[in-house]
């Protein structure tokens, strides 16, 4: 087939294109991820006493942290879905979130008597938290990678990592509705580990399936 024929064919396929289709579709996936994770969480582990949680600063600290990382992942995925753009903003948001929580965690630990430090670091669910977040992120991870395939990531592994951080952050935010851990250090280590599982899975899968 001659290139001119191909061009004529594509011209006849020129429909008005939807605007903002990338952020819109990613946001839809984020919402769906939250709903599905919630639908798994409630029968599986149940919610914590939400009346007490909304008055608890540590609940909001965790939620703001995981939501900030979800936002960073969203921005990364949204940029990396496009050829030829820079994507520093998303990484900046994620790193800033980690840095702020790190500072809070250090300040908290410094004010504790040494006997309580290990409890602040490990809580009572440290060995379950990361895996639960990773599991809650799985449906969202599948969905976000399928959506990313429609786009044009020229760095597939990185784009997959951004997408994985996005849904991992959403899943961690939902997990916060169950988890009663209160220390900043616990959140910094174990929630971040859960989101890192999702990010690494996204990078690995992206490297395999986001090529085009």
């Amino acid at each position: 087939m001659k290139t001119d024929d191909l061009i004529a064919m594509m011209a006849s396929d020129a429909k008005p294109a939807a605007r903002f289709s990338i952020p819109r579709r990613l946001a839809l996936v984020g919402g769906a991820t939250a709903l599905v994770a919630l639908a798994i969480l409630v029968p599986w582990l149940g919610l914590r006493d939400m009346g007490a949680a909304v008055g608890d600063t540590s609940y909001w600290m965790k939620t703001v942290y995981t939501a900030a990382l979800a936002l960073g992942g969203f921005l990364l995925a949204e940029r990396l879905a496009r050829p030829g753009v820079k994507s520093r903003r998303g990484a900046f948001v994620a790193i800033a979130g980690i840095a702020v929580l790190g500072a809070i965690a250090i300040a908290q630990l410094a004010s504790l008597p040494s006997a309580e430090i290990s409890a602040a670091l490990l809580g009572s669910t440290w060995d379950k938290c990361p895996w639960r977040i990773g599991l809650l992120a799985i449906p969202g991870l599948i969905a976000v990678l399928l959506v990313m395939r429609k786009f044009a990531p020229t760095r597939p592994a990185l784009a997959g990592a951004g997408a994985g951080l996005f849904v991992g952050g959403v899943a961690a935010t939902v997990y916060g509705l169950h988890c009663g851990e209160t220390s900043a250090a616990f959140t910094l280590i174990w929630y971040t580990a859960g989101m890192a599982i999702s990010t690494a899975a996204g990078a690995l899968a992206g490297w395999r399936i986001l090529r085009w």
Binding site: M1, K2, T3, D4, D5, L6, I7, A8, M9, M10, A11, S12, D13, A14, K15, P16, A17, A18, S21, I22, A81, R82, P83, G84, V85, F151, A152, T154, R211, W212
Partner: protein
């Protein structure tokens, strides 16, 4: 007497290079350029002019095409075909058999993935990133280990000559499409009928013809990807 003259002489080319700058950029970047007078900056500024001169018209066509203007879309794609042919010929050698296939693959991506272009971004930067991605892919398919440095989008505009001949790869892929899609394509393309005429001939509705064309294009792209 010679000092002032020599000064002007040395700086003249720089100011030619600087002249387009104050229109864009923040005050800080303008200040940065005014303070630095190295040859590297001068080259960067000239390149900025070249990209801007090419990018404006292409961007305008792209915006019209995204709005559904088929003529503007065709014009954009054929201008891109010329630029891409030169670009790939320069990278692979003018007589390389893959040049025209790469042109077609890149045009397909420009068409099918056009929603990934951000209107705030230069069109050429987007198109160049796609072309480079296709080029790296062909190195990979040929099992050639070779790095492709990121150049400015201006790489698309470098002068060179090559003729555009028919490609065989896409032709072969096309022959593997389902019968119905092929009939539609033949009516629309090779016999140069409008979608309405093609619809009348094949007994399908016009929207079914359009869907069929779209599916065929996507199938072509998938086959390119699954080739290796």
């Amino acid at each position: 007497m010679s000092a002032a003259w020599a000064y002007d002489f040395r700086l003249a080319p720089m100011f030619v290079g600087l002249s387009p700058l104050p229109r864009g950029g923040s005050p800080m970047t303008q200040l940065g350029f005014l303070l630095s007078s190295g040859p590297g900056n001068r080259r960067r500024l000239n390149r900025g002019m070249a990209v801007e001169a090419f990018d404006g018209p292409l961007k305008a066509l792209m915006l019209k095409g995204l709005g559904g203007d088929a003529a503007a879309h065709a014009e954009l794609l054929s201008r891109m075909a010329t630029l891409l042919r030169r670009y790939f010929a320069r990278k692979l050698g003018p007589s390389d058999q893959d040049v025209e296939d790469l042109v077609q693959e890149t045009l397909l991506a420009i068409h099918l993935k056009r929603e990934t272009w951000d209107a705030a971004q230069p069109f050429t930067a987007w198109a160049y990133a796609i072309a480079r991605y296709r080029l790296i892919d062909i190195y990979r398919r040929r099992r050639v280990r070779r790095s492709e440095p990121i150049e400015s989008a201006e790489a698309l505009f470098a002068e060179d000559t090559a003729d555009g001949s028919a490609a065989t790869d896409v032709e072969r892929l096309l022959s593997e499409l389902p019968e119905r899609q092929r009939a539609v394509l033949k009516a629309v393309k090779l016999d140069e009928l409008s979608t309405a005429e093609a619809a009348a001939r094949t007994g399908m509705s016009e929207s079914a013809v359009k869907v069929s064309v779209h599916r065929s294009l996507k199938a072509l792209m998938r086959r390119v990807r699954d080739e290796d």
